[in-house]
Symmetry: C2
Subunit: 386 residues, 2 copies
């Protein structure tokens, strides 16, 4: 396998983009990424997206977006793994460059969840869960996570309020990110008083429904060297995917993300590092419970101790393992199929030293973890600043 | 890049499988493919599917199906390029093995188009076209192909009846394929009298709505050698994807499949062959007009002469370039996201010499071409019997 470099990044602000259609939003991330890389062509475009069929009435995004950004003719298709779609597109791009198939690949994640063709977004999101054994029983995606959170609170005797430190950290980091959907800090009291969504998950435990796109240009080493622009080179040093049952009740232990354990171990092996070497971790805090479970299954906390890491301030920019450094899914926003690419864009900003007020000091190794469903597909990537 | 071998194939009968849900249908193809290959594990599963969200209310097929076939934990995700989704999944599997990422990969295509959750299948299929500039105007997918066919008939002065040879060939070949949806031969008179769907496309120009799944196990050369089972080894010698605008009216020349031209040339270069070397061509005869356009853009006929190739009997099993040798999309059926994998399964049967009454004599080189939309994504693969 060949080394793979991230040579360009682009992103749109996350929010309700009523004036832009899906193809425009994708365009608004891809063109800046190409400009950032200094490329005018690419060999292929892989698009991460979950819901365009259901919410926009449009499939076939690969060719559509390739054409719309001026790349008609190139290889292009869509990759889907529910809310892990962006990470799966990144995985596909990694394989193409690492495997010597292509030299320059664009990976884009895009989701349009507002101003849709009239379908119900909550029902659409439930397609990430098992339709026959979960969704058909009436359980929504937030309800599934509420069951997980309730179980976790019971098993480890953790009060709901303790999860607030995840939300506070995310919102604090969102303040300085111009692309974040929510840019106001919240207090623990504000967290505790937030509207209940699906007990015990309240509004401040939950990431928002929104629109957004992010894009990355990947290149082989010789191309990356030719494109050097004075910024610190960032290598995509590891890429790993693992799965679990879609239905949470089919798992031996619902509060253990087995697929995170498998994919993070694979990624650590590929990058020849361990959790202690990671300077920042962009994890999938679609709900606060998922942040805790990710930290534990990826080796940053003992079982049942993920929340304590947050309480002790270890997840902040200055902490031992900064997470959601640009606001995370909670505050930057969670345009589902785009999230995995946003994570990698933000990690690249950190490694380039361009994260502004949110800069993690001396960041050299960043990990991203994108999750499809309630832990059924987990995609882990490791980025290294050289 | 490493050589890639097809070491196992599986398929379900194509038709209306009311008693099987999507996951069961996928299972019914994947398990036979794994048995055929003699493997009990795989490194990854890539699923080609277009419409599960819209018609079944289920996304996230990668993890769902990996778990259901007993492969919980492995890398898995879905790949989508409208009716070219199966070919795109095969492309992804090819990259993974050729690039040295994985040694054993399962590629599955699955579609469930009957007994759905109540959505309109014609509207769902129109998501392959441009939603904002085609579908929003009320044009269906068959109507788009009707416009193409009408233009072609006008430009080359070809009567509708001449297209009947494509339908007759497909139905004739379907008779001996136990997995074909339609197993009765038709006459030219029967073709001409078929019910009109969207003038000039009639029922016998059109592939059917149906359910089905096909699967392939790909392996690296050392693994393929270790698995040798007495059957002739089949190498996946080329894999290429190209795109065009989704909207037909955006193309300079709507009766020329530019993406077929690009992807077939790339595939010929990779396999170091030309069209004259191809012993059989599994093309994308979703409508008879697409068969003609594919033959022309892939170098088998001059422009405007694709239909004549059919009239002259050159597309039959005994002809110069046999197409739709197991019935094609017209008679075997077109479960859209599965079709690209069915094509490769059937080509493998031919190269193994196991195509029964439909065997192409001395077949050594087979080409498959899977199309998403009205020519917007075209995936060409070349298989070589060793």
């Amino acid at each position: 396998m060949r080394p793979v470099y991230i040579v360009g990044i682009g992103q749109t602000p996350v929010g309700e983009q009523w004036e832009r259609s899906l193809r425009h939003i994708a365009h608004d991330a891809i063109l800046p990424a190409m400009r950032d890389a200094g490329v005018e062509r690419a060999d292929a475009l892989y698009v991460g997206n979950m819901l365009s069929g259901e919410l926009v009435g449009q499939e076939h995004l690969g060719a559509l977006i390739a054409d719309f950004v001026g790349l008609r003719g190139i290889e292009a298709y869509k990759v889907e793994a529910a809310c892990g779609s962006g990470g799966a597109a990144l995985r596909t791009g990694f394989m193409a460059v690492a495997g010597g198939i292509h030299d320059v690949v664009i990976v884009a994640g895009v989701e349009k969840m507002t101003d849709t063709v009239g379908r119900d977004t909550t029902a659409a999101l439930a397609m990430a869960a098992d339709q026959e054994y979960e969704a058909a029983e009436g359980v929504s995606f937030v309800a599934l996570n509420a069951l997980l959170m309730r179980r976790y609170m019971y098993e480890y005797d953790i009060p709901h309020g303790a999860f607030g430190y995840f939300a506070m950290n995310a919102h604090q980091n969102g303040v300085s990110n111009p692309n974040a959907m929510f840019r106001q800090a919240i207090t623990l009291e504000g967290y505790r008083r937030a509207t209940m969504i699906a007990d015990p998950i309240n509004l401040m435990d939950s990431s928002p429904i929104c629109d957004g796109a992010a894009a990355i240009v990947l290149a082989s080493e010789p191309i990356a060297q030719a494109l050097r622009n004075g910024l610190r080179p960032v290598r995509l040093a590891a890429s790993a995917v693992a799965t679990d049952s879609l239905a949470v009740h089919d798992r031996r232990d619902p509060t253990w993300l087995e697929a995170a354990w498998i994919s993070s171990r694979k990624a650590y092996d590929q990058a020849r590092i361990g959790p202690a070497d990671v300077d920042l971790f962009e994890l999938h805090d679609a709900f606060t419970i998922m942040a805790a479970l990710s930290l534990e299954a990826s080796g940053f906390a003992e079982r049942g101790k993920g929340v304590r890491l947050a309480e002790e301030g270890e997840i902040t920019i200055e902490g031992r393992i900064p997470i959601a450094t640009m606001g995370g899914l909670k505050a930057r926003g969670h345009p589902v199929g785009a999230t995995g690419v946003y994570q990698a864009v933000e990690a690249t900003l950190q490694l380039r030293g361009l994260a502004g007020a949110n800069q993690v000091h001396d960041a050299t190794i960043a990990m991203t973890q994108n999750i499809g469903g309630s832990g059924a597909t987990i995609l882990t990537h490791i980025l290294v600043g050289e």
